[in-house]
Amino acid sequence: MALLEVDDLVVQYYTDDGVVRAVDGISYEIRAGETVGLVGESGAGKSAASRAVLRLLDGAGEIVGGEIRFRGHDILELSVDDLRAIRGDEIAMVFQDAGAVFNPVYTVGEQIAETIRTHKDVTDSEARDRTIALIDRVGIPNPAARYADYPHELSGGMQQRAVIAMALACDPAVLICDEPTTGLDVTVQAGILELLAELAATSETAIQLVTHDLGVVAELCDRVLVQYAGEIVERAPVDDLYYDPKHPYTVGLLAATPRLGDDRERLPTIPGTAPDLIDPPTGCRFHPRCPYAEDCCASRRPSLVDPASGRPDNGDPETHVAACLEYTGDLEAGLDYEVQVRDAADSDCRERKQQGEPR
């Protein structure tokens, strides 16, 4: 039994313009200790999906269907008190925008210690010692002094480290990281990613990493889920996804990732923008932007299938599945792309091409 199982989850937001189905029937599971990436453009419903795990949707959002099982118990059925006992203790969240996650009028240490006191039977000084150890663990120098700092007194990178320390306060079984590096400087990002990678490698904590950045996923994750317009369109172990992407959307995301050595004039992009989820496209939701779309894509809705066999998803999280009509044999022209892997011998060529680039 997986640690966390999400089954056919549907989340809706009620806005002035209509009902937005931010998450439309996604299913996945996370096993103890593994790191799973949830990737997609902004507006794909990734944040809604991960907030739903702890029933943390704000006023306008509602979970309208599905099950979220943690250790076999449906979180959606839990009483308020039972849910509260899980939040921060068994499942913890790392939010983006660390500057706003801390209450500005209390010290960082107090807020971390508060979490420990809430869930564990400890004295105030034990909570304090544990907090200082946590601050030290996430790589913040001089932890005893930082304990008494107010959030605004820390730099952005230190704030995000402190947010991670707060999430780790009670040794959670699952850590949900929602865009943990967005908005940080590149060098600071690298530090945070290193910290998360070290965490993934050394602790028993399972991590669900929500991001729009495929580079981050490649560095940290064991498996990847690609979400588009509220649906999961591809699921694969991380290497399979990068070396053998199956869904045209994934292919587009990979093609749009900038890298050194590109000899192209400009980055290829996915045409158009993320669809309006009030009135999503019919059939395959990606078809209005898909370069390989054919007439049938507008009418038939693909489900996750094994690309090799075309058989429906067998539920094994390690299998590579994608939701494209190509793999059920419905496309006439097929998908025309190719993944090139350059080996080390190309490296000098890469150097040269880099100089030729405009930026």
Binding site: L54, G59, P104, V105
Partner: protein, 315 residues
């Protein structure tokens, strides 16, 4: 920046404002039409000796700048002279009236907080529910009710018809049961609109805070909802309420001016109105000065409290 230096800087800003407040108050009798002596005596016919005495007392034969400084010196030592209308010492009159106004204003302020804070919390938490809508309309009604009208109605219903409270204030000292009982109606009259303002302000600032990411984060940490609201949200939502404490004071003073008259309460507000009607300008000048300085100092205090409550302000 340390708190001490913040307070120092804030004090430095207060000084020019105090100078402005005193200068404006000083110029009051000079802005009145006609000669300053005429204004001071309330445009009555006075003998030549009286006029000379007033010229000497107010240093009217000196340049305006010196007049201001001499007046300021007198004001600092609370020497406002005698009222040309009543012949009584102005400082003593105000000193006698001040406690009564403080008692009424303080009671009304406590009432405003006692009603406004819980009502603000309840309506903010139950946004979109009937409790919120009822609270919103009640607060608007509280703001829209003229306090003099409310006072008259309370007086009519509870004093005239039901006879529960006395119509005239007792002669008993300020701290006595009879006085406290008498204060019930004026306190309600004065405190209702203030309570409504506190409630609206707290409600809207709590609504704004409830949307803040740190609230979601606090819930994600498994904190009980009580802790989230009372420890985290309220502490932040209270900051805007603190900042308007100075405005609240001004609001209560305005109310007291009207309400004291209705209930014949011997405070400064009633003295001010009576002085206006009998053109007793030195008394008006002294009262306005006391009020102005009180509000400037209140705002200073508020800013210091704010800095203590909000660590972000000490950059």
């Amino acid at each position: 920046m340390s708190l001490g230096r913040y307070v120092g800087r804030r004090l430095a800003i207060t000084v020019p404002v105090l100078v402005g407040v005193t200068a404006l108050t000083f110029s009051f009798v000079h802005l009145l039409p006609g000669d300053a002596v005429d204004a001071i005596v309330g445009f009555r016919d006075v003998s030549a000796e009286t006029e000379a005495a007033i010229r000497a007392e107010y240093h009217l034969d000196q340049p305006v700048w010196d007049q201001y400084l001499l007046w300021l010196r007198d004001a600092i030592t609370l020497e406002f002279g005698e009222s040309p209308v009543t012949g009584r010492d102005v400082s003593a009159t105000i000193g006698r009236r001040l406690p009564a106004t403080l008692a009424l204003g303080g009671a009304a302020w406590l009432l405003a907080l006692a009603i406004g804070i819980p009502a603000g919390i309840v309506t903010a938490v139950s946004a979109g529910k009937p409790a919120d809508e009822v609270g919103r309309l009640a607060a608007l009604a509280g703001i829209a009710t003229p306090n003099f009208w409310l006072g008259l109605i309370l007086l009519f219903v509870f004093s005239v018809r039901l006879g529960w409270f006395r119509v005239l204030p007792p002669d008993a000292p300020l701290v006595s049961l009879a006085t406290v009982k008498f204060l019930v109606l004026p306190t309600i009259t004065l405190g209702t609109a203030a309570a409504a303002l506190v409630m609206r302000l707290l409600r809207s600032s709590m609504r704004r805070e409830l949307d803040a990411p740190y609230v979601t984060a606090a819930r994600a940490r498994g904190l009980p909802e009580r802790t989230v609201i009372l420890k985290h949200v309220l502490r932040n939502a209270f900051l805007p309420v603190v900042t308007v404490a100075g405005l609240q004071l001004a609001f209560l003073v305005d109310g007291a001016v009207v309400v004291e008259g209705i209930f014949s309460w011997p405070g400064m507000g009633r003295l001010l109105v009576r002085s206006i009607l009998r053109r007793d300008y030195p008394v008006i000048q002294a009262i306005v000065l006391v009020i102005g300085i009180a509000i400037v100092l209140a705002n200073l205090l508020v800013d210091i409290i704010y800095a203590i409550l909000d660590p972000r302000i000490r950059y």
